[in-house]
């Protein structure tokens, strides 16, 4: 179970950084398409995670992340060491 506060924080960060209305972010929605991300934006996603959560990931770590739910799980697992 992912903390609702964490989900809210992630949504706010993503909406602010990628300049989308937070209301379009739904757990089942496709991450790349919803945020209109390309390969360059994944580099900025790495920066965003390091800046806001304090750990460093590699762009290749995003392979397999399709939806926002997948992204929440990914961040949660890294924070909680799962």
């Amino acid at each position: 179970m992912i903390d609702g506060v964490l989900i809210e924080k992630i949504n706010t960060i993503l909406a602010e950084e990628f300049e989308v209305d937070a209301s379009i972010i739904k757990p089942e929605a496709p991450l790349m398409e919803t945020l209109d991300l390309d390969s360059l934006d994944l580099v900025d996603m790495v920066v965003l995670i390091e800046h806001n959560f304090g750990f460093t990931v590699k762009a290749k770590d995003f392979v397999g992340i399709k939806s926002f739910e997948d992204f929440y799980q990914f961040i949660n697992s890294r924070i909680n060491g799962a």
Partner: protein, 413 residues
């Protein structure tokens, strides 16, 4: 339709201009500053903290690009690319060029720029701190390269023609116009966005300060830049961006565009001597080449916008070069750098904008702070005051480190 061709070459006209400078961020504002002799120079406290000798700089606001461009475009833009974007929007607008025209024509871009130091410094500092190259973000490389202006603007405006940055030190902007002129004259391109951009931050000019090139009049910013005056003590760094739409005469007529002026000729030379100390011969040959290629007589040149940056040796040698070329003919000579400071990579383009504004509105802008001529400037017709003067032909000089020289001649059509 009548097709104008000179010796098999096309005529080249200016159909739009845009400016973002320390004396104004629109043509109208800049025109008023030029008329009133308003100085755009002030003090940057950060330079004192860093250890600069001179704290003087052109003062201009940072444009707010957020409502104008999406995130993907903004994060790739350096400071100078932002200035160039603002100037280019104004230039395209008053040239009556819209997105449909850009999408259906091979419009190019040739822009002068010779550094992107702030982006490089910030990127390298971050990589050193984080010990990770990814954490510098995706925009850094596009901000840091010397071609930052042309690579960003060509994407933003979806340009399809020539796309190159011209790096020619403090003559970059002038050479960009000159190269654009040659490409259109020869028929290779019909329309090119030409210009020059200059970042405004301490990083970009720190070692310049170390060379003792800057004025030390920290206590009197508006009196610090004093081209041709006997009491000048160095230049004042400044910046921003200037854009001009160069177009073949046929293209301009075909689409009913406003024709602001005609680019008559481009002269250039290299001193072939010292890396920083200018001489008389190189600039003289550049001026003579431009006059020769224009088909005009020396007497037809009515205004010379000098490079004159307010350095002791530079102004002295340029004054001698101008006096030797023009002899008994005494066109008005002025340096708008007295108001703007030295806009460096941008200057060759911005000074064409300033000069065309004067020609359109029949005045000579004052060379403010010109009070006492020295031996060389006493030979020239320089006014420290605003002059009502209707003229139709001007010459603009730009010179740079390494002895690169550029001269443009422009007239009314």
């Amino acid at each position: 339709m009548e097709v104008y061709i000179l010796n098999g070459m096309k005529r080249v006209v200016i159909t739009g201009m845009g400016i973002y400078s320390c004396i104004g961020q629109s043509l109208d504002e800049v025109k008023r500053s030029l008329m009133s002799g308003r100085c755009g120079i002030g003090i940057d406290p950060a330079r004192e903290a860093i250890g600069f000798r001179s704290y003087l700089t052109g003062i201009l606001p940072e444009p707010n690009l957020t409502p104008l461009l999406d995130r993907r475009k903004r994060i790739s833009m350096s400071q100078e690319a932002g200035y160039a974007y603002m100037a280019t929007v104004e230039a395209l607008d008053n040239a009556h060029i819209d997105n449909d025209f850009l999408a259906s024509h091979d419009v190019g871009i040739l822009y002068g720029n010779d550094s992107s130091a702030q982006a490089v410094m910030e990127g390298v500092d971050l990589i050193r701190e984080k010990k990770n190259t990814t954490l510098v973000g995706s925009g850094s490389v596009f901000q840091s390269m010397n071609s930052t202006v042309t690579m960003n603007l060509s994407v933003i405006f979806k340009l399809k023609g020539i796309n190159i940055t011209i790096a020619g030190a403090c003559a970059s902007g002038s050479h960009a116009i000159g190269m654009g002129f040659l490409m259109i004259q020869s028929g290779l391109q019909d329309c090119i966005i030409c210009g020059g951009a200059q970042e405004v931050n301490p990083f970009s000019v720190s070692s310049f300060d170390g060379l003792n090139a800057f004025s030390m009049r920290n206590d009197a910013p508006s009196e610090s830049s004093r081209p041709f005056d006997a009491d000048r003590d160095g230049l004042v760094p400044s910046g921003g961006a200037a854009s001009l739409i160069l177009e073949s005469y046929e293209s301009a007529v075909r689409r009913g565009a406003p024709i602001l002026a005609e680019v008559k000729s481009y002269g250039f030379s290299s001193n072939g001597e010292h890396i920083s100390v200018p001489n008389v011969d190189g600039p003289k040959r550049s001026i003579q080449m431009a006059i020769r290629n224009s088909g005009l007589s020396i007497e037809q040149i009515q205004y010379v916008n000098a490079h004159a940056t307010s350095t002791p040796i530079g102004d002295y040698n340029e004054a001698k070069a101008i006096a030797e070329v023009f002899g008994s003919h005494k066109p008005y000579v002025g340096s708008t750098k007295s108001m703007t400071g030295h806009e460096m990579w941008m200057a060759g383009a911005s000074e064409v904008v300033y000069s065309v504004l004067m020609m359109q509105n029949s005045f000579i802008a004052p060379t403010i702070n010109f009070k006492t001529p020295d031996e060389a400037s006493a030979q020239l017709n320089i006014s420290g005051k605003y002059v009502d003067y209707s003229f139709d032909t001007l010459l603009s000089n730009s010179f740079g480190f390494g002895g690169t020289n550029s001269t443009l001649i422009i007239n009314k059509i």
